[in-house]
């Protein structure tokens, strides 16, 4: 982190925010003109992008349901963004009102919004932090209050790590969280990516806009994503296209096609 954490960053509504652009794509109105402008411009270049975003969100839902089904009641949602709809605590607490969630995001507005939305929900905390600082996150009061690492905890990194370039060592960051988990803990990741040489011209253009106006992205191939699961045993079906990970309906897979630009997986710590 460049700034020490006691020096607050500027809140500049003229600058698009990842969280708010994402919210717009999901059909939300938690966004401003600058966010919408970029979101629309990107969509014009790559209309299928909305579907991509919906699929990552849907992966989150399926992942949380899978984890609930495997006894997980504690979730650490990294890069949680704007709590648009279908948030982790809604899914989890629908299944078990005692489920606990810690949301972590770097965007101060997303954090403020999450906090106001969650005021009164004692099982959920929102942490304003940079997820790359895994040690800081794990040592935070919020994590300390909500999560008991002796019991299974699931770390969620949904549509997140493609914003972390190689030089910031995403593998090391994941490793930091992994080492805190007990055996039986889980890691869920969805990540933008292609098989080698698969990227289309349109998506390259869209990525350029996004790189320039919002934040840089690093697409990774399945091998690189698999390496993020070092120390975990991948659950079936392993690292696959996001829509193809335990689809709820065969139609979901067909619709998104086999060239979906992103992969998802869940690993269980050995």
């Amino acid at each position: 982190m460049e700034r020490p954490n006691w020096a607050p960053g500027d809140i500049d509504l003229e600058r698009p925010s990842v969280a708010r652009v994402y919210d717009y794509w999901l059909g939300g109105a938690h966004n401003f003109a600058a966010d919408r402008a970029v979101a629309q411009q990107t969509l014009e270049t790559m209309p299928e992008l909305r579907g991509v975003v919906l699929n990552h969100r849907a992966f989150l839902r399926r992942a949380v349901r899978y984890l609930l089904g495997h006894g997980v009641r504690q979730f650490l949602d990294l890069g949680s963004g704007i709590p648009t709809v279908g948030n982790v605590h809604e899914i989890a607490q629908a299944a078990d009102p005692q489920a606990r969630v810690v949301y972590v995001d770097i965007d101060p507005v997303a954090v403020a919004h999450s906090r106001s939305l969650l005021a009164g929900n004692g099982q959920v905390s929102v942490l304003h932090a940079d997820i790359r600082d895994w040690a800081g996150v794990l040592a935070s009061d919020e994590v300390d209050k909500q999560l008991d690492f002796d019991e299974p905890v699931a770390v969620l990194m949904i549509a997140l790590l493609h914003f972390v370039p190689d030089e910031e060592d995403p593998w090391g960051i994941v490793g930091g969280y992994r080492d805190r988990l007990s055996p039986g803990g889980f890691l869920a990741i969805s990540h933008a990516g292609y098989e080698a040489d698969e990227e289309t011209e349109a998506s390259r253009q869209a990525r350029k806009i996004y790189d320039r106006d919002v934040t840089r992205m690093r697409f990774r191939d399945p091998a690189e994503i698999s390496r993020l699961f070092d120390g975990f045993a991948l659950v079936e079906p392993g690292v696959v296209r996001v829509p193809a990970w335990r689809p709820e309906s065969p139609a979901d897979v067909e619709e998104s096609g086999k060239r979906f630009p992103g992969f998802g997986a869940i690993g269980r710590k050995a």
């Binding site: 006691w6 975003v53 919906l54 279908g86 919004h113 309906s249």
Partner: protein, 721 residues
């Protein structure tokens, strides 16, 4: 809320016929396909289908209800938004699908009454959807704006907290901190700085940074300040003194930093000032101790060398400086006889007198150690300046020094060097002063000596010769020349004197007066003399073989040290044997002092040589102080009269009666003792004639022949001349 509505729908489902229900289900499937993917809905595809089927059933019931109401349509629109079917295409696709597909799916295509009712419900659905979406959008916009405000509040409160922390840091810091504008106006100072300088904030704000200039500030402090203000450097550190309000001084370690604005323009300057007065004073004391002699309190060697180095560093082109290198005469005796305590007190007094006599700008008296002192005079105008200083010092030291009841008279020797600094170094100066001090000692002490480059050059040359002589002997740089000894009566060559020469690679051909004395000092004379002796004996043998009875004897000089060499007799005998030379073909020449002023042992050696048959001659006779009575008992065969007596006999027409008388007397003396007489330095025919008349036996000198290679002697013997 969604759940509650769903419950109600299910309760009301029963009135519809199975056929209509099947149609509704088919429509719901189409509807789901049309709207899925237009926005994110947190449901599975099946859940979406179920949800839409419930809505379809509600719609179908409303279509057939009596009385007909549009309210359910409105509610369905609203519930679509509630379930987050908020994508931009959702409503359009829904309305179109209702109009196109629903009547056919329900089995009533073209029914005008139903079409009319459907249109009314479509309108209500659109209105309900629009209303709900508007509310939802407004709510979300409201929420996100509130979140922005919250986030800003949070950020600001953090900013305030951090500001408070900084303020506390500034206020409570133990180090002095001051902030000033770029023009130097002081804006704020913390408590530590107020305490350090003794001024309040209000007082400090009256000042400009430049008012804090101190006369002792290093030039770099303010040069760097100007650079910092100009934005050329971002910070610098310096040692700096400040005046306190009470007039005292504070030594500080200052770090000045430039604060720039967002555009990189200089905005503020921040000074961090640490009071290092105590450390500074301690350092000063330690430095003083390190640089001063604890006994006399004078600067020590280190300080002197530092100062000397500075003189050389700062030198302008024609600046001169001088040194007196002083050493007490006989100090060791005082120390040894009266004790070190007295010696120390003496040194203290000497130091005091030196300091007293040479005090003044540009002069430094230092104790170099032991009883050595040095006086440095910067900016002298010539040698006389330093000579004056030395005279003053010597005068000052004349008065006896009373220590513990003793009246001690001390004197000192002083080496003086004075010169222009360009072209020389401090090391040169020190070395030359040291050498000159040695001269003053050698010249008799209690005096000064002035550095003399020629004398130095001579000594250096002497030193060089003495150092290179051993190797010269090995390399064969020496050679021997021979000068005939001629019987005056018939001009027969009876003998030859062997004279050693040195063909020096650097200095050229050197006569014995340049190196024999050195060889005596170093002891090399013994091997050198042995070498000459062997060389001469070899030549003598050659002549003997070649010329038989006409062959000359060789006369070889024996230095004092050689004459005392216990191996002398054995060496001579061995060489004679080697060369198969009869002993009477060898004559050894010794000076008067070598023979007279000696103990018994050399004399015994001479006797042994004499007994062996070797001739002994006294060289340079008449210049020493010979004991004539003693002479009678010496094993001597020949006297060689020094060339200096020949001066008066030189001219053709007149002679010096004294010289003539001396020579005559010496000849008579020799003959009275049955000794032969050789006159050296015979240069004119007149001299030769007079010497013959006076009864002198043999002559040697340029008149007969100059020294030369052995071949010259061959020629002489053959009568080639």
């Amino acid at each position: 809320m969604t759940d509650r509505v769903d419950q109600r729908v299910r309760e009301d489902r029963s009135p519809l016929s199975p056929a209509v229900l099947a149609g509704a289900e088919a429509f719901a499937r189409s509807w789901a396909t049309a709207v899925i993917g237009s926005s994110y809905v947190p449901m599975t595809r099946a859940e979406v289908a179920q949800h839409l089927q419930d809505l379809t059933e509600t719609l179908v019931e409303a279509l057939f209800a009596t009385p007909f109401r549009t309210a359910p349509g409105y509610e369905i629109g609203s519930r679509l938004v509630d379930a987050h079917f908020t994508g931009t295409d959702t409503l359009g696709r829904t309305i179109q699908l209702l109009g196109d597909d629903l009547p056919a799916e329900l089995g009533f295509p073209g029914d005008a009454r139903l079409t009319s009712r459907l249109s009314a419900l479509q309108g209500a659905l659109a209105a309900g959807y629009a209303r709900a979406l508007r509310e939802r959008t407004l709510a979300e916009q409201e929420a996100i704006r509130a979140a922005v405000l919250d986030a800003r509040d949070q950020a600001e409160s953090m900013l305030r907290a951090s500001e408070a922390r900084f303020r506390a840091m500034f206020t409570e810091a133990a180090i002095g901190i001051g902030i000033a504008a770029i023009d130097g106006r002081i804006l704020d100072v913390n408590q530590a700085l107020q305490d350090m300088l003794g001024f309040s904030v209000e007082e400090m704000r009256q000042y400009n940074v430049r008012d804090l200039m101190h006369p002792e500030d290093a030039g770099s402090v303010w040069r760097l300040y100007d650079q910092l203000i100009a934005g050329e450097c971002d910070h610098y550190r310096a040692e700096k003194r400040f005046h306190r309000a009470d007039g005292e001084q504070v030594w500080t370690h200052l770090t000045l930093s430039l604060v720039r604005d967002d555009h990189g323009e200089p905005q503020y300057q921040v000074a961090m000032i640490e009071d290092v007065t105590d450390r500074h004073l301690l350092q000063n004391r330690l430095r003083y101790q390190a640089l001063h002699d604890p006994l006399t309190g004078l600067p020590n060697r280190a300080l002197f060398l530092e100062r000397l180095g500075r003189v050389f560093n700062n030198r302008a082109k024609h600046v001169r400086a001088g040194l007196c290198y002083l050493d007490l005469d006989g100090f060791k005796v005082i120390n040894d006889s009266l004790g070190h305590d007295t010696g120390d007190q003496l040194l203290v007094e000497v130091g005091r007198r030196l300091d007293h006599s040479v005090s003044g700008e540009g002069k430094l008296v230092a104790r170099m150690g032991g009883d050595e002192f040095v006086i440095l005079v910067e900016g002298s105008s010539g040698e006389q300046d330093i000579v004056d200083v030395a005279d003053r010092v010597l005068t000052e030291l004349e008065a006896p020094i009373r220590i513990a009841g003793h009246e001690l008279s001390v004197s000192a020797s002083i080496g003086i060097v004075e010169r222009q600094l360009s072209g020389t170094t401090s090391a040169d100066l020190m070395r030359d002063a040291d050498i000159t001090l040695y001269w003053a000692k050698a010249d008799g002490k209690a005096r000064w000596a002035l550095y003399d480059p020629e004398r130095n050059a001579r000594e250096v040359a002497r030193f060089t010769l003495s150092a290179t002589m051993p190797r010269a002997l090995e390399r064969g740089e020496f050679y021997v020349e021979y000068q005939p000894l001629v019987r005056l009566e018939d001009s027969t060559v009876t003998g030859v004197e062997a004279l050693v020469r040195w063909q020096h690679p650097e200095f050229g051909r050197l006569a014995p007066d340049r190196f024999i004395e050195l060889a005596e000092e170093t002891g090399l004379i013994v091997p050198l003399g042995r070498w000459v002796l062997r060389k001469a004996c070899q030549e003598a043998r050659r002549w003997l073989v070649e010329f038989g009875d006409a062959a000359p004897f060789v006369s070889v000089n024996l230095a004092v040290r050689q004459s005392r060499d216990p191996e002398l007799v054995r060496d001579v005998k061995q060489i004679l044997d080697e060369c198969a030379l009869p002993p009477h073909h060898l004559q050894l020449e010794l000076t008067e002092s070598a023979i007279m002023g000696t103990a018994d042992e050399p004399l015994e050696a001479l006797r042994a040589l004499c007994d062996m048959g070797v001739r002994i001659a006294i060289d340079d006779f008449g210049t020493g102080y010979s004991n004539l009575a003693y002479l009678k008992h010496l094993p001597v065969h020949e006297l060689k009269i020094a060339g200096s007596f020949m001066e008066g006999l030189r001219a053709e027409n007149e002679e010096d009666p004294v010289d003539a008388q001396i020579v005559a007397t010496l000849v008579q003396l020799a003959h009275a003792l049955s000794l032969g007489v050789t006159a050296e330095g015979v240069e004119t025919p007149a001299q030769a004639a007079r010497l013959l008349r006076l009864g002198c036996d043999t002559g040697q000198g340029w008149f007969f022949a100059r020294p030369g290679p052995p071949e010259n002697i061959d020629s002489l013997l053959r009568g080639d001349l």
